[in-house]
Each structure stands twice: as structure tokens, then as C-alpha cells.
Symmetry: C2
Subunit: 317 residues, 2 copies
């Protein structure tokens, strides 16, 4: 099994440059801000968004300075949404560390998320002429819309797979899709290549969310507190699939457990209904299609890396 | 005494157009979003930021379509910060109506604020070539920085007037100042005229915050729940001035009342120390200077309106 840094090898230098940009964005002189920024940098994520953005540019053309800033902005926007998501979920732990809201309270977390968002847009201002700032702003609005929709449908077990896909497309996949498309455009890719990568990103991002949904209710330990979806009444694909597979009393039992936020019972019913396996099959199909999206692009190391990334996603612990 | 709509008369048509733009930004098809947007539009604010922005453009040149969008964005950004401020303050009422967080909960309010912010930036994207989007993004970051700083200094009665001015310059005055400058630039104003209006906005915005600080502890009724500053441990100018005017036991008494969030006693001590009157004198001086900032500009109806606006601010109920 590849590791993520092995996969990212074709863009490792650029990834280091992105890290530098991110670091320089998060080094305020203001005492409190500086503290929050250092704390955020300590709990380093996988940087999957910058990796996908850089590889998308590299596969379709030549990476330029603007690609690095776009990749850094993708991570900053992701960080901003994580900080606000933790407020929304009242989450206490993320990646094995106390969340900003848990450590400093909601007021600080709300403002710090806003700050990260304006920092992200801010670093894109220097590339005002190439449409990346409007693209990223439009995408951020889509993310908010998706999250608001998801919030409205909390505990609503009538939600269909199609509605779920629509929500995920907005709240998760749009960031991947937008970054893939814009990064390819910056690197000089043709319009069809940009479209292929946009579709790739949409499918990859949707699969990413499905895998994340499964991890949230899986037994495996990871540095994130789990069961936030069930506790928050969030309708995930495993739940939808389990409800569809069950009937009568069994279905009622799951619906009740979910409504009551009973994590243990919900998990047991969902798993017993075979919904986790079915979700992973769906994710696998999406990733098959995502690999297909790459086939018009020239055979190259970055394309190979994107393909390996799709396999990594499903095999990831 | 002028009313605000009398003062805004030289730009009344443009203001109506700004209202249309704002309305069109807040008319989502998504059920929940649409509900939040309609609710927000019902509790119409004074639109002081769009008025100042439009008058600044009109005084120094010719208003263009971009001025309307800038003015609308100023109000949307203001709305976004209000929605998040109410989460931060756990405020239940604003302008006589239940806040978004009180009615729909923090999760919805956090996301809706993010959404409003991305809408604001979004409508500026069509004017990508004139530097207004970068200016507004930079300003938003400054607002966040100012608010985070203010949060860090909560309950810290060692805060000086100078530090207070610095905070207010970031969290409140930067929006006015930036809109004045950018709006003038869009209207074709000379660089010195832009600078004059930028300074005008900075002073006007600072005075605006000082007046707001005073209103928060005043007896007068208004459609906003009061005493949020004291309850939130926020260091305001009336408090700083009262602490500076008092000594010994009296000072201790106020410090204790403030620390304990005792609104009644804090108010009594602050008022008895003559701090409200002193703050209003400070605001008056700032507004005198702000009028001076307008003197290099051509004598005109919009300039006259800005002058009347400075008088309105201090006489406002």
C-alpha cells in the first residue's frame, strides 16, 4: 500500500512550497491569533486537497506560482470549515487534539474560522486576473449552502440517496472539483482537460465523503472523535442504505436508535444491514469512474499519482 | 433634526438600486436559506454603510454600477458580522427581534454568517479588475483581527484608550474607511480625494462605535438588547474613561461590578463618573475632524449630506 507522501512524490517540491505559503499565512504578530495559528499548524492534516490540486495542474500542464497559492488556499478554506464544523457539532476532539471551540470557546472559534476564510481569499488576490478568486468564492458559497441544507434535513430519514449525493456534491466535492479545474486551468490545460479534471474531482470528493461517513461509524480507532454524524442527527449514506435494506420492525429499531442518538445500537443495525460494505462498493464505483475521467489525459507520473490516490482512498485505514 | 432618509436624499435612487441588489442576493431557492434571508431582510437596519459608501462616491466623482455593488457588499458583510457577533455574545435579541442563533441555534447562525460573507464577496467578483474585491477581503480580515484582539482583552481593565482606538479602528472603522476610499476610487476620484474620504471614514466609524458603546449602557430604550458589552466583559470607552476618572475605593467598586457582570452597578458608576459625557465629547471631536477631512472636496449636495450625517450620528436617539 502506498503512503500519501509516496503518492505525492511528483509534486513534493511544490507541496513543500505550499506548506511554506500556508505557514506564512498563519504567523500573525497578534498574540491570540498567533497562538491559534500555531495550534492549528501542530495538528497537521493529510493535505489531501493541496495534493489533488497540485497533481491536477501537473497532469494537464505546467505548474506556476499561482498553483501553489491556489493549493494553499484550498487547505486554508478546508481548515476554516473544520473550525466552524467543530462549533456546529460541539466537537471536543479532532485528530486526537482538543478542538479550538473546546479549548478557547465558541466565540474564538467563530472568529478564527472567519479569519482563516479571509486569509484564504486574501492570498488569491494577487492573482486577480485569472478567475481563481471568483471560482473559490463561488465554491465556498456552495459549501455553505450544502451544509445548511444538511442541517435542515437533520434527523429526516426520508432523505434519499439522490438528495444525499446532491448535498455531498456541494459540501465536500465542490472544493475538490473546483480546485482540480482551476489548477488545471492555471497550468495551461485545455478546456476539455479542465472539464475532465473537474469531473474527476467531483467523483473523488464524493467518494471521499462516503469513506468518511463509513469511518465515522467504524470500529477502527483514529485520531478524531467518532460517531459525530449519528450524534448530530446527520443523514449519512450508511444510514440511508441501511434503512433501505431493512423493513418492518428492524427498520423501526434503527430509526428509533438514530432518533435517540443511540450510537451503539445505530452502529450495530447499520453494520448488520450490510450498509458499510454497500457504501464502500459505491465509493469503489465512483473511484472507478474517476479513474476513467483521467483516461483522456496524457500518461504521466502525475496521472499515475492521481490513480494511486483513488486506490489509497479506499484502502486507507 | 434630519432623518436618515432626508440626509440620503442625494443618493436615494442609487440606494434603492442597492436595496434591489441586496434583495436579489438574499432570495435563495433553498428552503432553509430562503427563510433565513427573508427573516434577515425583515429586520432592516439603517443602511448607514451603503449610504456612506454612496455619498463618498458621489462627493468625489460619478457613481457607476460598481458603486452599487460595493455598497450592497458593505451591508452584506455587516450583516454577516452581526450574525456571528450574536453567536459570540449569545445575544437573544437584535433590533427588537429574536436573533438567528436564538431562533435557529448556533449551527445555523454560524453557517448563515459564512454564507452571507461569501455572497458579499461573490457579488464583487464581476468587478474583478478594479481592486475592490481585494480591498474588501483585506478589510474583512482586519475586522476579524480586531474582534479576536477584543476577545482576548475581555475583562482586562488595563486596556488603554489608545489600545481601544486601535481595536475600534480594525473592528468597526475599517469597513467605513475602506468603503469610502474604494467607492471614491470607483467614481473616479483623485488619489488625494480618496485618501481624504478614507480618513473621513476612519474617524466617522470610530465615532460611530463610541456612540454605540454609550448607547449600550444608556437608559434609553431601543430595539436591541442592551448591556451586551458589560455582560460580555467587553472593554468599552465609557468603562476606560470611568476607570481613569475614578480612584481608590470608587475605582475598585466599578472594577468589581464589571468583573461580576453587574450591569446595574457598572452603569451607575460609569455614568456617575461622567464617562458618557466624556465619550460623547470625544466622538464630537472626531466628527469635527471628520468634517475637516471633507473640506478639500468640492462643495456639493453629497458633501453636505456627509456633513449632516456626522451631526445626525451624535444627535441620534
Amino acid at each position: 500500500m502506498d503512503t500519501l507522501s509516496e503518492i505525492a512524490q511528483p509534486v513534493e517540491n511544490e507541496l513543500r512550497a505550499v506548506e511554506e505559503i500556508t505557514l506564512s499565512c498563519l504567523s500573525s504578530a497578534e498574540e491570540k491569533l498567533g497562538e491559534l495559528e500555531r495550534y492549528t499548524l501542530e495538528s497537521k492534516g493529510k493535505r489531501i486537497r493541496p495534493i489533488v490540486a497540485l497533481l491536477s495542474g501537473a497532469v494537464a500542464g505546467q505548474l506556476r506560482e499561482a498553483n501553489l497559492y491556489l493549493a494553499a488556499a484550498s487547505e486554508l478554506i478546508h481548515m476554516a470549515t473544520m473550525v466552524h464544523d467543530d462549533v456546529i457539532d460541539e466537537a471536543a476532539v479532532r485528530r486526537g487534539k482538543a478542538t479550538i471551540n473546546a479549548s478557547w470557546g465558541n466565540p474564538v472559534a467563530v472568529l478564527f474560522g472567519d479569519y482563516l476564510l479571509s486569509q484564504a481569499f486574501g492570498i488569491l488576490c494577487r492573482f486577480e486576473d485569472n478567475g481563481i478568486l471568483p471560482g473559490m468564492i463561488q465554491m465556498t458559497r456552495e459549501v455553505c449552502e450544502g451544509e445548511i441544507y444538511q442541517l435542515r434535513r437533520r434527523y429526516d430519514i426520508s432523505m434519499t440517496e439522490e438528495e444525499y449525493r446532491g448535498t455531498v456534491s456541494m459540501k465536500t466535492a465542490s472544493l475538490f472539483s473546483t480546485c482540480c479545474r482551476l489548477s488545471a486551468g492555471l497550468a495551461g490545460a485545455s478546456r476539455p482537460a479542465q472539464e475532465s479534471l473537474s469531473t474527476f474531482g467531483r467523483r473523488f470528493g464524493t467518494a471521499y465523503q462516503i469513506v468518511d461517513d463509513c469511518l465515522d461509524i467504524s470500529e477502527e480507532e483514529r485520531g478524531k472523535d467518532r460517531f459525530k454524524d449519528i450524534e448530530g442527527g446527520r443523514i449519512t449514506l450508511p444510514l440511508i442504505k441501511a434503512l433501505a435494506a431493512l423493513s418492518g420492525e428492524e427498520r423501526e429499531r434503527l430509526a428509533l436508535a438514530f432518533r435517540e442518538g443511540d450510537v451503539k445500537r445505530s452502529r450495530r443495525e447499520i453494520t448488520a444491514a450490510g450498509a458499510i460494505a454497500a457504501c464502500r462498493r459505491d465509493a469503489g464505483m465512483l473511484l472507478d469512474q474517476a479513474r476513467g475521467d483521467l483516461s483522456p489525459l496524457p500518461d504521466s507520473l502525475p496521472r499515475d499519482a492521481l490513480i494511486r490516490l483513488t486506490r489509497f482512498l479506499l484502502g486507507a485505514p
